[in-house]
Amino acid sequence: MAAQAGAHAAGQHGHGEHAHELSFVRKYIFSTDHKVIGIQFLITTLLMLMVGGALALGVRWQIAYSWQTMPIVGKWLFGEQGGQISPEFYTMLFTMHATVMIFLVIIPILAGAFGNFLIPLMIGADDMAFPTLNMLSYWFMWPAIICFGLSFLFDGGPAAGWTSYPVLSAIAEAAPGSGMAQTMWLLGLTFVGVSSMMGSVNYMTTIINMRAPGMTLFRMPLTIWGMFITAILQAFALPVLTAAGFMLLFDRLPFSIHSCFFIPNDLIINNAEPTVGGGQPLLWQHLFWFYSHPAVYIMLLPAMGMVSDMLAAMVRKPIFGYRPMVYSMAAIAGLGFIVWGHHMFTSGMNPALGMTFMTSTIMIALPSAVKVFNWIGTIWGGKVRFNTVTLNCIAFVTMFIVGGLSGIFMAAVPVDIYIHDTYFIVAHFHYVLFGATLFGVFGAIHYWFPKMFGRMMNETLGKWHFLLSFIGFNGAFFPMHLLGIAGFPRRYAEPWIHPYLEHLLPMNRFITISAIVMGFAQFLLLANFAYSMFRGPKVGRNPWKANTLEWFAPSPPGHGNFDVQPVVFRGPYEYSSPLVKDRDYLMQTEYLPRREERPTEQPQPQPA
């Protein structure tokens, strides 16, 4: 079926016949196999994580040791400036840090890497609905990487933050030196947009139309639900950002012909001629956050799904409240579309809108609460083994609680008036983005690595990586809440010129050191990854004794995934089912000759 669709889409070139004689290039580089593409995404994004992390360390260095020469790299990078970072460069650092982390790490690692790898496997399909489109979606990330990379080269670098609010981002004079860089940045944004777009329609089609026999919607693992809902969010929200990006791009045209959607009249910027426009900068904020708020759930829902699957498998227990989990994900997605204004409480928007957005934002904590309680419920009465996967999943849950709860402060508008654009926000989103999502991803890497490469990852290294990351992470980001409460504004190249912040310098040094610890812990992950790829102990099909379909395929699965077409008989979470006595898992594909009784709760012993 995939073959057929592909052939239709791409014209008439044959498909399948040459499956066993693909050249190296077709097999590993321009491959249309979803698993290869997934792994390509994974490796690319892990490398990008290092890039983004290195930029973050630059940010941290400047805050804690303002204007001091960075050890080792400082002289080399900023020789002309006497080893110093310039304020423009600092702006570029955090802009690119956020850009890389969000657009080249978190979104592609979730949807691109795990989405690609897992969706066909978990629903029992041979491949994605459109393998070629899938390949393109990976390769469209490269122009984006190149554009973002090029924006480093133009002197100032993009200088408007990842939110790139006009007028700062719309008029070249506003940020001298950033002219071409900002334009490149917008182009890069368009390319990641195209890439995600291709991915998301493909995922939706695959999930809707290519499920194995018996795989009804409510037998899908939560990972698939997460990916599915993410794809929907992506499909509805992303075009708006792309559209807004084009509008900003046209506003920036370096010729005398340029539009003025976001440029009001009579601004005198950098002593240039007053602008002639009539546009409205607030429009960008609305359009940007209309995408970027759903995007934060795009950066979370797949991780939520994966963590649910991992937790259930690790504690050998059905997920607590499967349907509420699905519904709450859907609710998060639905509500996610009507809360974007909470980023704009102080922006000068209509206060009536502020009230509406505040209510919806606070309400979004509700489905999140359901999820948190269900995760705890899943662990409740389960058999907990503290391996790397479990540890990362638990970290996900606790970090998400922290990040989510700090969201409540900000959702309360009056409080947000004070903490908006302070480090409280920075703490919040690193807790949800790194604390939740990235720990979830770390868990997922360890969990699905055996399926990807047929080998286990090293447990000891994994635990050390977890321990150092967790401690470093909390050391770095927990104190940021306090910074925020102390009124420490974000995006400050040198906060220390403000006397009311001076006493916070030691805390910032502590944060920076923690960040360095956390940063270097990531080398353990890379090392573990690279080492285990070639040297890890080999495993069979189902090393975790899990239920979902991917474990039914060989490890690693060949082209076409399954040697036997799977047929699905039950939901994905029948761990410790009373129907089978000799083991504590019951795969979705297993056919039990006896008619299954409806699993009841009574005969089971209550949790310890």
Binding site: H8, V201, A243, S256, I257, S259, F261, Q280, G560
Partner: protein
């Protein structure tokens, strides 16, 4: 292993859970969903920007929006959409020749649409109604006229007195040559023009002249024999309040729509380049969906831009 793979691939008959519509059609519909959001962002922005603007140029003499051309274009697109359903129907009945003719018709209609669009764009261009170029107030319009006249003078001067000396020197030379030459010579004409420009510039600078006067003088200059042909880049000053925002929106929306038309035409061109239409049924259906969508967008753009 690879054998097993092979067999699953070449026998797509495996039962699947799903909607029972082909993947490609499902994908096309999902894609159209994203396209709706894409145009929503543009159209929505246009609507609110327009409402938020204290004024908006709507007079066709000012905006050079031509409802008749727009209506004609609407008709052309609807007609092409009709041809597409005809083609689709013909494909279902395996009347491939008829389908091919209909598709060719669609392609041609697309060309006509773009042609008319080009005429409209040219109208805007020739009045310099381009985003960022529009003078919004009478003052700005007059200053713009002076600027354009000076540019025209520079071009003329370059032709008259080529060389790499500073402009001032060449200007002096041209002036003195002009005053001594007989009245019909190129140089004399130039001097006449030059004087007019300088006088106008001085008056505009001193705010001693009304817009209507400037318009008249520019018109006279443009009609002036021997001078007019140098003034192609000079436009009669017509301030259009909020014209920049208006043209920004206009070109954004119609431009992206036109881009979609071009993509659609490419899709049709691919079908036509196939030797036989056998097996293209799904392709035609999906491209048709896309084409109808493009039509649909225009159905909304037409009243929003041209009429309201």
């Amino acid at each position: 292993m690879s054998h097993a793979t092979h067999s699953t691939h070449s026998h797509p008959s495996a039962v699947r859970m799903g909607l029972g519509i082909p993947n490609s059609k499902l994908c096309m519909w999902l894609f159209l969903g994203t396209e709706i959001m894409f145009f929503t962002a543009f159209i929505g922005s246009y609507i609110v920007l327009r409402m938020g603007s204290p004024g908006w140029p709507t007079d066709p003499h000012v905006t050079h929006i031509n409802v008749r051309l727009g209506g004609l274009n609407t008709f052309v697109l609807i007609f092409s959409s009709y041809l597409v359903v005809v083609a689709h129907e013909a494909m279902s009945k395996r009347q491939f020749d008829r389908a091919r003719r209909a598709i060719l018709g669609t392609l041609l209609a697309g060309c006509v649409f773009l042609g008319i669009k080009a005429i409209e764009y040219y109208g805007k261009y020739s009045h310099d109604l381009l985003p960022g170029h529009v003078a919004e107030t009478p003052d700005a319009a007059m200053r713009k006229a002076v600027r354009e006249l000076r540019e025209a003078r520079r071009a003329w001067l370059d032709a008259l007195e080529p060389g790499d000396e500073v402009e001032k020197v060449r200007l002096e030379r041209a002036r003195s040559a002009g005053s001594s030459a007989d009245a019909s010579s190129e140089h004399a004409l130039f001097v006449k023009f030059d004087r007019a420009v300088e006088e106008l510039a001085a008056q505009v600078k001193a705010e001693r002249i009304t817009l209507a006067d400037v318009q008249r003088r520019v018109r006279e200059l443009k009609e002036g024999e021997g001078i007019g042909e140098w003034l192609g880049g000079v436009h009669e000053p017509h301030p259009v309040l909020y014209g920049n925002l208006f043209t920004s929106c206009y070109f954004l929306m119609t431009g992206f729509h036109a881009l979609h038309v071009v993509v659609g035409m490419l899709l049709w061109a691919i079908v036509l380049s196939a030797k036989s239409l056998e097996g293209w049924h799904e392709y035609v259906e999906n491209s048709g969906l896309y084409w109808h969508f493009v039509d649909l967008v225009w159905i909304f753009l037409f009243p929003l831009i041209y009429i309201v």
